[in-house]
Symmetry: C2
Subunit: 232 residues, 2 copies
């Protein structure tokens, strides 16, 4: 772990010793942190690779770097996929995503359900939050972010080996999420999934997941699932 | 569970059939929800007792109620005590507390550590958030909220049978929090506990708690601990 040097997200980082980067990450480097040519940074691609590099040229929004070294990463891709009905309040989703990336998340999908309270989500904001949480937590994998899936085709196409639906109706529920497995968890809207949606998921091999007796908000339920998956 | 009727926090609820209540809860009842004399509400005292009651008289900030019935509660007092160095940003603490009350928390203390970034916290705001999360999640126990303990006397006086300190230094760490036990978990500031603070805690019988390899923000670490304690 190299907490000492500043980290910048470079999704197109390749094997060449010379790297270029444009946009908000470089703007942060030059204008907020006021870094200078000759200083060392860490570039990471969100897919497990990170390198140390020297700044060779730095404009307001564009930089050129010489790669010095590949750096080891302790982080691993996560097998956890959370698919959530978007919350009415964007803040709640953003908070969730920040915490989930810190704890460990492989993929995050937004799903349209019959009682969803929103069907447009600013994915650029979510992406920015995920990048920032990845860097802050010293992780090197960025979760895949996907908006907005229709419910039926989404559950029909799901390929994870453990598939759960966290709903609030009575009935037998599993409380055990396997650590490290290939796992998809559906989290419903504030008004819950409809009984029809629950039935459709069960027909596609989803199991009911119990997250305790309290009535949890959407983002709290999702967060508890993420914490339990990452319990070791 | 009685999600259908509105819930109001009445900390002084006693065994008398006539109850009075003043303040912001009644203001919410009369001015926001525009409830009327004759309607039924639920009053709860945050200590596990809840009753249904009829509104007999309702002024802007003051109401009189006739208790109809004691209602059963599924909720149990939680043995979990989180003691946290306050975060610089109040929002992060507030958000943590909301989620923690939903998931289950018995007591929340703020502690002054050598690297704490704040030593004043608006406890009235935290209390309001805890009350709201208790009602929203259909819980009936409100956690005890305490501000601001000095570190050394606090750890010296701790009486929980399982005592953990979640620090980021290397070394053997436990990863297992017992469900339902009498448990205190210390969560450090962004810059971590000092080595001296860790040593002092160990001398008082605290064990190091591991919450994974990622660097978690203060409130994320606290939230993960709460989720793990409430995993069943």
């Amino acid at each position: 772990m190299h907490p000492e040097r500043h980290r910048f997200y470079h999704p197109e980082l390749d094997l060449s010793p010379e790297q270029e980067l444009e946009g908000s990450e470089v703007h942060h480097m030059s204008k907020v942190l006021r870094m200078k040519v000759g200083e060392d940074v860490i570039l990471l691609n969100g897919k497990g690779r990170l390198v140390s590099a020297e700044i060779k040229e730095l404009k307001k929004d564009r930089g050129r770097f010489r790669v010095l070294d590949d750096l080891p990463s302790w982080d691993m891709p996560s097998g956890l996929h959370i698919a959530m009905a978007p919350t009415k309040n964007m803040d709640r989703m953003e908070w969730f995503l920040e915490k989930a990336v810190e704890m460990g998340l492989g993929r995050f999908s937004l799903i349209g359900t019959q009682r969803s309270e929103r069907n447009k989500v600013r994915m650029d904001r979510l992406e920015r939050i995920a990048v920032s949480a990845m860097k802050q937590s010293l992780r090197t994998y960025l979760p895949r972010l996907e908006s907005m899936h229709d419910y039926k085709p989404f559950i029909t196409g799901a390929s994870e080996s453990d598939r759960f639906i966290a709903h609030c109706y009575e009935g037998d529920k599993s409380t055990e999420i396997s650590v490290g497995g290939s796992t998809l968890i559906l989290i419903g809207p504030e008004g819950d999934f409809t009984e029809e949606e629950v039935r459709e998921a069960k027909e596609m091999g989803f199991h009911a997941l119990g997250l305790g007796a309290a009535r949890l908000r959407t983002e709290t339920a999702a967060l508890k699932a993420v914490a339990l998956y990452n319990r070791l």
